[in-house]
Amino acid sequence: MAVSADADFKTRLQNWIPKLVLSPSIAMMTVFVYGFILFSVYLSFTDSRILPTFGWVGWENYDKLWRLSHWETSLINMGIFASLYIVICTCIGLGLAIFLDQKIRGEGLLRPIYLYPMALSFIVTGTAWKWFLDPGIGLENVMQTWGWESFEFDWIKDRNFAIYTVVLAAVWQTSGFVMAMFLAGLRGIDNEILRAAQMDGASNWNLYRRIIIPQLRPAFLSAFVILSHLAIKTFDLVIALTGGGPGRATELPATFMYSYTFTRNQMGIGAASATIMLMTIAAIMIPYLYAELREKR
């Protein structure tokens, strides 16, 4: 009798251990992520300015937010930036991975060169990029002193093009990382299938298009998650490279939110923009996560 009760306790303990192990993480997440999100949503309906205060103002902050023309600018910039950044990084990453997978001599040397930008923060590389893009001292100047007089590259000074320089620097930072993810995917593909297809006379182009790239689907998905997460959090880069300028031409939602919350003492509007940003992220990520995680079952 006693033995069985003991065993019973043990099994029950065994059943509980996994949940116990998980619980600190769950608790932290509930408080530090979802609790804080709720708090921030709540703040967006208050008159908070320098510190959180709790006078209810209804939709006033949202109303003000949509009257601000550079909130719109920042949303449009986000659209341009995120789509270009994700697409270009994926293309370059995939291309480099395929090329690097062709039994390249010196792969061991090239790989860390492609990867290292991910190791640096933009507080570090921002200045270098700023110099490089500056027409007065950077690429334009160098090309001109090397004799290409008509060379022009002044995007960073042009409010219609400045956002593309942000894309350029961001692509520089992460495309190598994406390359590593695709390379890992390519190395996992079964060569037997390829050999069989080669026997059937398939061209390299067709091999990639019909067999290899479709098999990389998981890598595409991981790349998408990582890239979109980085795109949303892009902040240091804009601050270091353009400071949101020329004018407010390279403002992104993250910089907008930060400036309203912390430098303009309009925490309510900052929280409202954060709420909209979170809802947008949720609208994109939830269907994706749902589809991804369901499939596993």
């Binding site: 992520v33 804080f36 062709q102 060169i113 507080i123 001292i137 939110m257």
Partner: protein, 293 residues
Amino acid sequence: MSQATQDTAIRTGRVTRTLIYLVLLLFGLFYLLPLYVMLVNSVKPLEEITGGGMMNLPQVFTIEPWLKAWSSAQIGVDPTGLKPYFWNSIKMVVPAVIVSTILGALNGYVLTKWRFKYDTILFGLMLFACFIPFQIVLIPMARMLGIIGLAGTTWGLALVHVVYGIGFTTLYFRNYYAVFPTELIRAAQIDGAGFFQIFWRILLPSSGPIAVVSIIWQFTNIWNDFLFGASFADANSQPMTVALNNLVQSSTGVKEYNVHFAGAILAAMPTLLVYIVAGRYFVRGLMAGSVKG
């Protein structure tokens, strides 16, 4: 796993190969360019930099900026250089990386091998948490640290980094363990092995590759973080990035670009080292785990 290091079976012609090499080299140059700019300018005297020609090799080579950035540059009132802040960063990064990796491994283990109702939803929530912009958590987080008495301490900073890192570490380990044969676990269970025994004896020994990925990811993110470091540290726990920012962003006065660049490279040294040393295992680890989505 036997194919781990195998190259593709695709064959290419000579012209194509030359082109491939050319493209690869060009991209190599593209990636190296900013580092080159930083390096050459960190060993020039200041007059040479302000004189223009940022791509030129130094006419006069000097190591002075590096020494200055490390040990005598003005960070605040004291000319301490970056040195003391380096240790602050280490003290924050090491525990944060270790704890978040361990938690991620355990979470991944539970979520794949001890499944329960709604576990996918829980995981989904954890994953979504990776996407919140950090700017919105600053104020509530500061309050929370104040309440638990960790405000302004290295431990408080480490805690913050653990909290916002476990989403990714869990993702990595979960995907890695998902393809680990469950039969082995079941067999061990029948043999009477408990939860931790199974983890310790069976899963952990083969977790090397994904642990590398998780450690590299966490190490770089935490080392490079500025926002949390600036907001939650006090005078005795400010990390390297904050000091670097103080060096580079000084509001008025002469900007010593050569010292700035030297400082920037110094601040990036640990992460660069991690990438160069562990980079090989990185691709292997990615291949083994996270890519399986």
